[in-house]
């Protein structure tokens, strides 16, 4: 069963191959993402993160989820030599580079706990895939062509119990965008896809590695359990040494 909904300005897709999945199953997941959006959206005037940025909520008053996200952000900042940082140049906090992957990861754990083993969750191109698809094969995930994002894929991955996240520059032709996204200039790199043990790990390291420009793929190469596919502005891709074990 495949269902989708627009949340956080992005398309959220939940496909569950397990037969006992009902509409309620995906509704529960959508509700969770709506709750996350309500808490962490920097666009919402009444979100907790906006309250923090406006100085209305002090560190002692953070919710448990907010404390967790701040803790994970701090940890990721250290692990990436400062390339990942939720603090904006204006001094406010924008944890969007980590929250999406974290939320998808949490939602996947909810499904697993409820007895679903074969599904994927996709928010705006960041994906957690568990178990097998309807044909009892591994999930097939395409990598979007950054130069023709609406019509073409340039790679097909075959994955199971993994997260896949792509960071990149805004691509021509798309109409969904985030004018406040804080992604540094990437020095000739237009797209970096990371396959990791789960989507939380893949997403945060894709964000950080993309900020490193050409060195980002070398950073992914050094990480155990991660593979990457980087595309530069000339359409040349650089692959980590174990990437091809996931390609068809």
């Amino acid at each position: 069963m495949k269902r989708q909904k627009i949340i956080m300005g992005m398309t959220v897709v939940v496909e569950i191959a397990d037969r006992h999945a009902t509409e309620e199953t995906s509704e529960k997941i959508f509700s969770y993402f709506e709750y996350i959006d309500q808490k962490f959206s920097t666009y919402k005037a009444d979100s907790e993160i906006t309250g923090i940025n406006d100085g209305l909520i002090k560190p002692g008053g953070y919710s448990a989820d907010m404390q967790e996200v701040f803790r994970l952000s701090e940890e990721t900042k250290k692990q990436t030599g400062g390339y990942f940082d939720i603090r904006t140049p204006e001094g406010t906090y924008d944890p969007s580079g980590l929250v999406k992957g974290w939320a998808i990861h949490n939602a996947s754990k909810m499904l697993l706990k409820d007895g679903f083993n074969n599904f994927y969750i996709d928010i705006g191109g960041d994906i957690q895939a568990c178990g097998k698809n309807n044909r009892k094969e591994q999930w097939r995930v395409g990598i979007r062509n950054p130069f023709r994002p609406e019509t073409e894929i340039v790679k097909v991955l075959s994955i199971e119990d993994r997260g896949v996240a792509t960071s990149g520059t805004y691509a021509r032709g798309e109409h969904i965008y985030n004018p406040h996204a804080r992604v540094p200039s990437a020095n000739g790199i237009v797209s970096l896809t990371v396959i990791g043990p789960d989507i939380y790990e893949a997403d945060r390291f894709a964000t950080a590695a993309f900020a490193m420009g050409k060195d980002g793929i070398g950073f992914i190469e050094k990480l155990d359990g991660f593979e990457g596919y980087m595309i530069d502005k000339d359409g040349i891709a650089t692959l980590t040494s174990g990437f091809e074990k996931y390609t068809l």
């Binding site: 992005m10 897709v13 496909e15 994927y120 705006g124 191109g125 994906i127 698809n133 999930w139 097939r140 995930v141 395409g142 990598i143 979007r144 062509n145 130069f147 023709r148 994002p149 073409e152 894929i153 340039v154 790679k155 097909v156 896949v164 996240a165 792509t166 990149g168 520059t169 805004y170 691509a171 021509r172 032709g173 109409h175 969904i176 965008y177 985030n178 004018p179 406040h180 996204a181 992604v183 200039s185 020095n187 000739g188 797209s191 896809t193 993309f210 050409k214 793929i217 070398g218 190469e221 530069d232 502005k233 000339d234 359409g235 040349i236 891709a237 650089t238 692959l239 040494s241 068809l248």
Partner: protein, 165 residues
Amino acid sequence: MKKYIVSFLVVSTFGLYALYLRSVGDASSAAVSPAPVAETSIPAPTPISAPTPVPTPTPVKVPTPTKPAGQYKDGVYTGVSANAYYGNIQVRATISGGKLTDVQFLDYPQDRGTSVRINSQAMPYLRQEAIQAQSANVNTVSGASDSSGAFRQSLASALEQAKNS
């Protein structure tokens, strides 16, 4: 061996040029064309042409404002051509009903360069390939929903005009 020395020179030149671009590019939104990279077969790895300025863009059209519901006035606004280091990015923003409803790219770096050799020199242990369209069926697709710094810079300047005009 000679090839490596030449390659090293190419890389160094590119690096220095990049530093130069960064110092210039950060200070202003001055449009600078991408660093021309010499092929390794050419003995003198110096930039072939100097950066060329791009004419300052002006707002395309400022229609009569219709009752503004948001913070911006309705119209179509063109942002500055912002240096994305590997080329320039310039966007045109459309405001309707006081809200940003569309962004078009007027300039986006897509020209084919010759930085492939530099990449392979810098990361010899990583394999490279030219991307190729695939036609296989997939369950879903991974892609970026982010934006680049240059995109934001150009968009911000377009929105600034929408505020002040």
